[in-house]
């Protein structure tokens, strides 16, 4: 194998993740505390997230705005009226389950009611691909 000077990469602590904020269309409120919102599980029909406990209840309809990085969410002081300025993808869902974890955190599972099919498929595919990539590097150290 010839030594290619382009190939060196450094180990970094930079991790990749999605950033989420949402509108609650039922209670007419918004949650832009992106640091307190995290996706845990995703499949074809459902998504499970950690959210601030007061942001929603069972039966509420939410619009999730999913960002690839935190550049824009960092700057938001409030949810914009005109959602088209948000550089993100949108997924709508109904809260099917709500469980309080502690005073700061609740776990909700949404049944996805409206999604751009291609986007959602690519979102879950990305998750699988990420796991593959991680697993590949992990295994490399052991073989």
């Amino acid at each position: 194998m010839s030594i290619s000077h382009d190939q060196i990469t450094l180990v970094t602590k930079n991790l990749s993740q999605s950033w989420i904020i949402f509108s609650n269309d039922t209670s007419k409120s918004d949650c832009i505390k992106y640091r307190d919102i995290k996706i845990l599980i995703a499949d074809e029909e459902h998504i499970t997230l950690l959210v601030p406990p007061s942001a929603c209840s069972v039966g509420h309809n939410l619009s999730l705005f999913i960002f690839k990085n935190d550049k824009q969410v960092r700057t938001l002081k409030r949810m914009p009226q005109d959602k088209s300025i948000l550089k993100c993808s949108t997924v709508n869902g109904k809260v099917q389950e709500f469980d309080l974890i502690d005073e700061n955190l609740a776990e909700i599972t949404l049944k996805i009611t409206d999604r751009v099919l291609d986007y959602w498929k690519s979102f879950t595919d990305q998750i699988d691909k990420k796991q593959e990539r991680v697993s590949e590097l992990f295994t490399k150290y052991r073989e």
């Binding site: 194998m1 030594i3 000077h5 190939q7 060196i8 990469t9 450094l10 180990v11 970094t12 602590k13 930079n14 991790l15 990749s16 993740q17 995290k38 996706i39 845990l40 599980i41 995703a42 499949d43 499970t48 950690l50 389950e97 469980d99 974890i101 502690d102 776990e107 599972t109 879950t124 998750i127 699988d128 990420k130 796991q131 990539r133 991680v134 697993s135 590097l137 992990f138 295994t139 490399k140 150290y141 052991r142 073989e143």
Partner: protein, 444 residues
């Protein structure tokens, strides 16, 4: 998956118990569902939400397999892993899955070198969760004779080295490429501080698997200890070609490259560094240290009259040292190294630039204050330089180099003999081991 493999998995899992440490309902449900789909009976799965309750269950039930988040509300997972390894040293019948949202290469490489079996990234899907589970279970459900011997050796590595060794000797014959057996043998020798024996085992390991990380890593350290710079270099190339480079290793790697006159390697690390978005302080310090090593070698070679060091090489070295002083976050010693080298280079522009940066970062640092006096000595008139040096000594900043300046400049300015003698006595009092050096200056 064929029927035979499925039957093997079913038989394997029938006797296994599980502990799932997950504070969320959905997470618990998803893992439970996945396990049931893979022929694990519901009664064999226990659940916990916190570290404390998980430890309790473990002490009581001694589960074969553990699934856990890396961060639980009452602490991180490490105690769980420690306990699991103690309770279940045979890792063919047992395993540990870690769920984490940290997919950085730093986390992956750390975990890959730990005792966990797999890392499941959050968020997960049903597919990603199950695929990681099967990746671990399938080989364990039908292990080769070699694998069994290797795991038996590992099981005894901590407390019964002789037993481990006997398993390894059998393992070496049980596979055509027993690289792991030789690696573990190398580790045992390292434990006994038998460097040469360790080296032999690890070199054997690499014969069977030239890019096996564990052997490369240990052998690199051994070659550095034995000062075998060529071999260390060969290993370092294999490492950096096949694996992401840990910034902590960069100063060592830089030293090895320079010792082998492979200067361009440092440029490669530097280029890789420039590709990192938001490098942290640690990385910046390591890269700037490596650039300082690079600059020092080039300028040193030049001052020693090495003809292969042409002007373009020097210009590049100066440029990189300038950059190193911008990149370096908080290591005064890196600055000190840069300035020392730059003083030798006699390039006043860059020297003063780097000095200014050093002073503004570390206004109280004595080494840098001393270096400033040394750097200025080259460009100031002797009377000014002498005053600087005298003021420094008065303020408590005493160093051999400063005394040398005082003596040299006093002589140059023709100060009277008794004054110079006083200075000499003071210098010899402060640094008696350098008296001969100081006297040489005065007696010139």
């Amino acid at each position: 998956m064929d029927a035979k493999a499925q039957a093997l998995i079913k038989a394997y899992l029938k006797t296994k118990s599980f502990l799932v440490v997950e504070p969320t309902v959905a997470g618990k449900t998803a893992i439970e569902k996945m396990l049931q789909k893979t022929a694990v009976a519901r009664k064999n799965v226990k659940f916990a939400k916190t570290l404390e309750s998980a430890l309790e269950i473990m002490k009581d039930q001694m589960p074969n397999y553990v699934f856990t988040l890396d961060k639980l509300e009452d602490g991180p997972y490490h105690d769980l892993l420690e306990l699991h390894l103690k309770q279940q040293p045979n890792r063919l019948d047992n395993g540990f899955f870690l769920l984490t949202d940290n997919d950085s290469t730093d986390n992956i490489t750390k975990l890959a070198q730990s005792e966990i079996d797999a890392m499941v990234i959050l968020p997960f899907t049903v597919t990603s969760l199950q695929s990681e589970f099967l990746k671990v279970i399938v080989p364990k459900s039908a292990p080769s004779e070699y694998k069994i011997l290797i795991e038996s050796a590992r099981e005894h590595m901590r407390y019964d080295v002789d037993k481990a060794m006997s398993f390894l000797n059998k393992a070496k014959k049980a596979d055509s490429k027993p690289f792991e057996a030789f690696y573990l043998e190398g580790l045992i020798h390292l434990g006994d501080k038998a460097l040469e024996l360790a080296r032999e085992s690890l070199e054997q390991s690499l014969k069977f698997n030239p890019s096996y990380y564990n052997s490369l890593k240990e052998l690199f350290n051994i070659y550095i200890s034995l000062k075998e710079k060529h071999r260390a270099y060969q290993v370092s190339k294999k490492l950096s070609e096949n694996y992401p480079v840990n910034p902590k290793m960069i100063p060592d790697l830089a030293w090895v490259s320079v010792a082998n006159a492979q200067y361009d390697d440092i440029l490669d690390y530097h280029q890789a560094f420039k590709n990192v978005e938001d490098p942290d302080s640690e990385m910046r310090n390591y890269i700037s240290a490596s650039l300082a090593i690079y600059g020092k070698k080039i300028i040193k070679d030049k001052t020693e009259g090495n003809e292969s060091v042409d002007q373009s090489l020097i210009d590049r070295a100066l440029r990189l040292m300038d950059e190193a002083s911008v990149v370096c976050d908080d290591k005064p010693l890196v600055f000190a190294s840069l300035i020392n080298t730059l003083i030798l280079s006699k390039n006043e522009t860059i020297t003063s630039k780097v000095l200014e940066r050093a002073k503004s970062k570390f206004p109280k640092n004595k080494t840098i204050k001393t270096l400033e006096i040394l750097a200025d000595d080259a460009s100031l008139p002797p009377s000014k330089s002498l005053k600087n040096a005298q003021d420094a000594v008065k303020s408590g900043l005493k160093s051999p180099e400063i005394y040398q300046i005082i003596l040299k400049r006093s002589l140059e300015l023709g100060l009277n003999e008794s004054t110079i003698k006083d200075y000499l006595n003071e210098a010899c009092q402060e640094f008696p081991q350098l008296s001969t050096e100081f006297e040489k200056i005065v007696n010139k």
